[in-house]
């Protein structure tokens, strides 16, 4: 898995000086390690996407359909009519350059076409050429013909954007490259040119209810492993239910949380919390995915995958929905779900059964974030916590892009961390909260074949972690995102090893004093708790 270039080689190769020639005169060059494999036809077929075929993104010939250009331009016209954001963002950019050095991919690669403004110009040049009068003048008007090379260039760079919205924070008009990338990817999907890494999970999720393609029995057995581990560490047997009708709450989280480390430790944290509370809740195998790769494909596909959550909540007759820790999942739930698949009239406005708190901010969508739920419990003194169990951890917190800039959940997780840990240190301001840096692998870019790109995209985040590691001895990077939990460990290992990655609920699970627990010797990872190290050795 490890990529060939050493960190210092990649670092010293970064150069922010753009080439001499104008950008339109520099054709795209497909660099190995920077682009994904193409979608397999069987996956596209399964979800009813057009123009699937055997093709290879590394080949010269992409086997595009004959009328690909008309499809692209018609699609573009359609999107311009449907999205004010798109039309506006095509028209009003003044190219002030404020966004230029805000993109983690630009900071990491130095490729000028990764400046958000230029990534947008790749598409804007087509807009001008085909949808404005001045664009008929061609290059001098910033316009160019749509050719196969131009399409490939758009493809190449629109899968070097993680839709993190950092550029949008700094833009004086709020132009959001994430939005433009989403439009570009809609067009790419009309031509069957999705990536393999995105289309596989899409088809999985449509069929099995989750991106990883876990079928009901696999989900169940994954849980059994976690429950056994929990029993070993805490002496408490937790017994969650699945697809149970009449539960008060449906809990939905990314499937990665019950699939692999370190996500499973976060999941153990949820399980302990719900058991501690005696929460009347259920998991669902049908709606077993909080994340939504449709979001990286088309608004329709996003709606199709997301629909399962409300549908399942209705079938099971729950009162409201609780959601686990995930970034883009929460952007979709917060900003899209109610619009797409609401109104959720079959549900009730969420009220915490333990504190009586009405979650006014979620009264229409009826879905509450686990950090909101937990912070409220702690504030009301409903949880018995032993902070010292996390004393071996020196924690920092990574704000995930989507929950930061598409929601604004900053204080809730910090409140939880400070309630369950004694040692917490912030990364520098220019890299946290609304200024946070992406992990470099969001929006469906967590593909093995683009590891070099991902290491570079994640460099700004990793470098900020390095800073607090050196300054405060930080050894644990916490977050509230499943993609982060999957991709930050290899990123951190690459740039500066010896910092772990965990979900906030894992830290909570460590500190939570469970009723009837045995003397806790291990944390949720099975590592000895502070002060228990020797005991472990004796055994």
């Amino acid at each position: 898995m490890a990529i060939k270039p050493k960190p210092n080689e990649l670092l010293s190769a970064i150069n922010y000086a753009p080439p001499q020639k104008q950008w339109m005169d520099n054709p795209v060059e497909f660099k190995k390690g920077y682009y994904c494999y193409g979608a397999k036809p069987k996956n596209l077929e399964y979800i009813g996407f057009p123009n699937g075929r055997e093709w290879n993104s590394a080949d010269q010939d992409w086997k595009l359909v004959d009328n690909w250009k008309e499809i692209f331009l018609e699609g573009m016209e359609n999107l311009l009519k449907k999205f004010r954001s798109f039309r506006l963002f095509m028209d009003i950019c003044v190219r002030c350059g404020a966004c230029a050095d805000k993109c983690h991919f630009f900071i990491g690669t130095g490729d000028p076409k990764n400046m958000p403004v230029l990534r947008a110009e790749l598409l804007r040049s087509i807009y001008r050429r085909y949808f404005t009068v001045a664009g008929k003048l061609g290059k001098i008007a910033g316009a160019r013909d749509l050719t196969e090379d131009v399409f490939k260039e758009i493809w190449y760079y629109y899968y070097q954007c993680t839709e993190c919205r950092r550029c949008s924070v700094f833009c004086p008009y709020g132009i959001d490259q994430a939005e433009i990338t989403m439009m570009g990817r809609e067009l790419i999907n009309l031509l069957g040119c999705c990536t393999d890494w995105i289309s596989g999970p899409l088809a999985n999720c449509y069929r099995t209810g989750n991106h990883l393609g876990l079928q009901p029995h696999t989900i169940k057995s994954n849980f059994d492993y976690m429950l056994d581990d929990l029993e070993e560490h805490t002496g408490v047997r937790v017994e969650p239910t699945f697809n149970r009708k009449g539960a008060e709450i449906l809990f939905v989280t990314p499937s990665a949380d019950f699939f692999a480390e370190p996500g499973v430790f976060t999941c153990m944290g949820y399980l302990l919390l719900f058991h501690y509370l005696g929460l009347d809740y259920t998991w669902s195998t049908y709606a077993s995915e909080g994340g939504n790769f449709g979001f990286f494909t088309s608004n329709e596909m996003m709606k199709r995958l997301n629909s399962k959550i409300y549908a399942e909540s209705k079938r099971l007759g729950v009162k409201w929905i609780l959601g686990g820790e995930c970034g883009h999942m929460w952007r979709v739930l917060h900003q899209y779900m109610d619009t797409m698949n609401g109104p959720a009239d079959h549900l009730e406005a969420p009220v915490s059964p333990f504190t009586g708190t009405k979650f006014e901010n979620a009264k229409s969508t009826k879905m509450v974030h686990i950090s909101e739920f937990t912070a409220d419990l702690i504030k009301h003194g409903k949880l018995k916590l032993d902070k010292s169990r996390n004393d071996n951890l020196n924690v920092t917190f990574h704000d995930s892009c989507n929950t930061s800039r598409g929601m604004g959940i900053f204080e809730e997780p910090r409140y939880i961390i400070n309630s369950v840990c004694n040692h917490f240190h912030e990364m520098p301001d220019s890299t946290t909260r609304e200024n946070t840096f992406c992990c470099g692998s969001g929006s469906g870019l967590n593909a093995g074949e683009i590891e070099e790109l991902r290491m570079l995209g994640g460099l700004p985040r990793a470098n900020a972690v390095k800073y607090v590691k050196e300054k405060h001895g930080v050894n644990m990077l916490s977050c509230i995102c499943a993609i982060d939990r999957a991709v930050l460990p290899p990123l951190i290992d690459y740039w500066m090893p010896d910092v772990g990655v965990c979900g906030v609920s894992e830290l909570l699970g460590n500190a939570l004093i469970m009723p009837g627990e045995k003397e806790r010797e291990n944390n949720l990872r099975g590592e000895p708790l502070p002060g228990m190290e020797e005991k472990g050795e004796e055994e």
């Binding site: 950008w23 003044v94 190219r95 002030c96 004086p172 008009y173 049908y286 619009t339 204080e411 609304e434």
Partner: protein
């Protein structure tokens, strides 16, 4: 290429106006073109805004730049993450009047140890100085289109001339406008990243505005024109009784022509950010999408993979795991 092209374009425009006045086409340059330009401006501006308005805002996508409103004891960042219309107005006011987002600007520096970030307020300062002074200069010019001149316009003039240098008093905004526009131009030329992204459409309005400011300053302090006659002409335009008095210098017509070009060019250019900033869905929406349902007028009908289909495929394994099913 874009820069040279734009510079030449503006020089040609100046020459056209100069030659025009030499050929005694002052009726064309003093009346017809300004009227036409103004019409194009209004029609084009309205058309563009309507065009934007015709595309709906299907999803609720504010960019949140501060703490959300959630639990009552957590302090919300009301101006950077507004949850009510009033707070949105506050956010927009900060954005439009003080360039809130540009004020955030930071600069990334490359070091051997990786990227580091430093404060960078120059673009904010230059941009704000440019826009504020442009606006004041625009308002000041109302004295050419009103009779009697409203007291507040005179007052603005007096404040603007507070330094009391020269005769007539130097108006500070004109000078700052020229300086700020020049800064924005130089930045575009010498900052290699900005230069790389710049198009002719970025240089052209800057050259045009610098031309307008220069001719204005020249006219006021150096190549004097008969200001009474100028006012006669501008009042004629304002009252639809157009007259072109003889003996106004060419410099005035060059000034007026460049302004006419700016007006006519405006609706077809990036300058429409003036209207666009108010319509940007990442800024003008409250972050309350979980509390109030946002409606998508074209919410599509889509194929769904229903629970029934799911259970049909997985019923046996569900049963064997003790997971409840609808149909036994």
């Amino acid at each position: 290429m874009g820069m040279i092209f734009s510079l030449i374009a503006v020089i040609v425009l100046v020459a056209v106006a100069f030659v025009g006045t030499q050929l005694h086409l002052s009726g064309l340059f003093g009346v017809a073109i300004p009227y036409l330009a103004f019409l194009v401006f209004i029609a084009g501006f309205v058309r563009k805004v309507i065009k934007w308005g015709q595309s709906p805002v299907p999803f609720h996508i504010p960019t949140t730049c501060g703490q959300q409103k959630s639990l009552p004891w957590i302090k919300q960042s009301k101006l950077d993450n507004p949850s009510t219309t009033l707070q949105v107005i506050g956010r927009m006011a900060l954005e439009v009047l003080l360039f809130r987002s540009l004020f955030r600007n930071i600069k990334t520096h490359r070091t051997d140890g990786g990227p580091v970030y430093g404060s960078n307020k120059w673009l904010w300062l230059g941009g704000l100085a440019f826009h504020v002074t442009f606006f004041v200069v625009f308002i000041r010019h109302l004295r050419f289109f009103t009779e009697p001149v409203p007291a507040w316009v005179n007052m603005l003039d007096a404040v603007d001339g507070f330094v009391q240098v020269g005769v007539p008093h130097m108006l500070i905004t004109g000078v700052v406008l020229l300086a700020a526009a020049t800064y924005l131009l130089l930045r575009r030329i010498f900052n290699s990243q900005v230069q790389y992204i710049s198009l002719a459409a970025d240089y052209f309005p800057l050259f045009l505005i610098i031309g307008i400011a220069l001719t204005g300053i020249l006219m006021r302090y150096f190549i004097k024109v008969d200001i009474v006659k100028v006012k006669e002409l501008t009042m004629g335009l304002a009252t639809f009784k157009a007259t072109v008095p003889d003996g106004i210098g060419s410099i005035f017509f060059i000034h007026l022509f460049l302004i006419s070009v700016l007006f006519a060019y405006f609706p077809f250019s990036k300058l429409m950010h003036l209207a666009g900033v108010f319509m940007s869905p990442t800024r003008n929406l409250a972050n309350n999408s979980r509390a109030v349902r946002h409606i998508n007028p074209w919410n599509p009908k889509v194929h769904l993979h229903t629970y029934e289909e799911y259970e049909d495929e997985f019923r046996e394994v569900m049963k064997s795991e003790g997971i409840p099913v609808e149909k036994e």
